[in-house]
Symmetry: C2
């Protein structure tokens, strides 16, 4: 018996890596001392010595079952952007900027085409934001993954000056909640989405959406790094940031608020992408559940003093959606 | 339609996290500023400022299909050690020491029992080596994972002084290869192992092994951090280290050697754990394939000057298994 017979194809992996090698190498900066092929990636952290009190920030995330939808329509080229952009926003929520990214790709069978497309997508997403794709792992596990299924996972490491860490302790009653719009469901709620759209033609134009379901549902997770840097450079003081992901507004916004304070969100104060009412109607989903599963158009919520919020609105596309109030949790009014 | 109906159980995850919380918190050091519950883990990197030229090292790995065997016999308590220890050895291969660990656990269904056992195991493995379990992610994806299957993945971030990075460029012809023994197959070759032992009683004593297959096959991946620190404190100069994982000796040892140099390994110079000849006979596996898939008892191979090797042997259990020679690749003689 040989390893090939047991279902592990070492060669396909090597071929795919070879094809994506150039895109991966293009993400390297002079700080990358060793990348692909080493037992671990090496990243020159000399820059941290010039900081007053450097704090490393790390976040691990997966794209979830959005991969299944992408595989179904034969286009995985957005998934790398989904993963990297999602991770970047999680760092921003602490005020941190990215240093390097590590990926993990696993499947029932490492098909060369899919693997090289995924690696290339990850590399392009990293390159677009100036983040080195420092290393990663691929695994073929026919006994673990369903036939044709993939998992797309990664860890982003970044850094923040200790005195600049954002968070609940900075937040005050009366602070404004400023939302940066999402591009759609991003990477959350896809188990539910897949049930709702089961059997529909994903390629057909849906007049209500002005595009096909494929386009509306595979649009990548938006990264807010550019907006964050714009605000930072302009000296806009932010108190806290909530990245609206799994669990929606009611689970994510309170993570940015201290004990004793809650949020009041005014319905109708931001544009809800048409995909959400479309899914709600089609799946007969209660409104409360919609807010618990989806971002509903709220990609990132900045918590900041009213005066700062006014300046921020002039600098980046954003919507004042509510306020920090005494109490707890999130109230939609 | 609600999210629960689509197969995602948010509550089971929260319960399991609650159960493992204490074990996770026990891994925290004063350097952990924010752990569980934050959008990202925060690790005080002030220590890096005292280094001359700090280099961050990161490695991402999974336990592979060893999880399936562990689930089959209903004992996942070693898998956290498998993952963390494997990762630590990958850092040692660069001369780096661990700073913090991030985990990713995914399954078709996040059963509370399994999830809390896995998180506890990861925390215990981290605690045993003094590594904070800084954060992580869990995902339930019935459409991606086979019924009852789990994937256990993690990223370890560490640091090394630039001038102390180990690697091929330090290696010289004539250097000795000193092996630190493995505890068994560690985390590699389990797709093949599962085929070979299919249908056998894993709980029964196998006289040839002196233990059951369950014991021999689930013994955790060994970490060599203690040995590495012992050698370092004694001032033993190491040139390079190869961690023998997937691809075995022929794929991993050359990663520690420069162009123009190869390795000559003397068969019979180290103890081969009885599980390997047992699997070879049972599966009728060619010897060449055994060395390509398994570590064959060679957990970690240190490449170092002969004089240093003699000192190292007095300090840690190890076996001189060969030499660096002109040429390329690995020759078993």
């Amino acid at each position: 018996m040989r390893y090939e017979e047991a279902g592990v194809h070492i060669e396909a992996k090597a071929e795919a890596l070879k094809r994506a090698k150039e895109a991966i190498a293009a993400t390297y900066t002079p700080r990358v001392l060793r990348g692909l092929g080493a037992f671990g990636g090496l990243f020159d952290a000399g820059g941290l010595k010039e900081m007053k009190e450097p704090v490393l920030v790390a976040t691990t995330d997966g794209v979830g079952t959005k991969t299944l939808l992408a595989l179904q329509v034969g286009n995985v080229s957005g998934l790398g952007f989904d993963l990297v952009n999602h991770s970047v926003n999680d760092l921003l929520a602490q005020g941190a900027l990215p240093l390097f990214f590590m990926d993990y790709l696993a499947a029932s069978r490492l098909e060369e085409e899919v693997l090289s497309a995924l690696l290339t997508s990850l590399a392009e997403a990293c390159k677009a934001l100036g983040i080195p794709l420092l290393g990663g792992e691929t695994a073929e596990m026919p006994g673990v993954y369903r036939e044709g299924a993939w998992d797309v996972v990664g860890t982003l490491v970044g850094v923040v000056e200790k005195e600049e860490i954002l968070g609940p302790e900075r937040v005050r009653e009366g602070d404004l909640l400023l939302a940066l719009p999402s591009s759609g469901p991003h990477t959350n709620g896809y188990s539910l989405i897949r049930k709702v759209v089961e059997g529909l033609d994903l390629e057909a134009l849906v007049p209500e959406l002005g595009e096909s379901l494929k386009e509306a549902l595979l649009r990548p997770h938006r990264a807010y790094l550019k907006e964050f840097l714009t605000l930072r450079e302009a000296g806009v003081r932010i108190h806290a940031i909530a990245h609206i992901t799994g669990g929606g507004l009611p689970e994510n916004l309170p993570r940015a608020l201290p004990e004793g304070l809650g949020a009041e969100i005014r319905k109708g104060s931001w544009p809800i992408p048409p995909i959400f009412p479309y899914l709600q109607r089609l799946g007969n989903i209660p409104e409360e559940e919609m807010y618990r599963v989806f971002n509903m158009g709220l990609g990132l919520i900045l918590v900041l003093p009213e005066k700062e919020a006014q300046r921020a609105q002039d600098l980046v596309e954003s919507f004042p959606v509510g306020r920090v109030v005494a109490g707890s949790g999130v109230q939609l009014v």
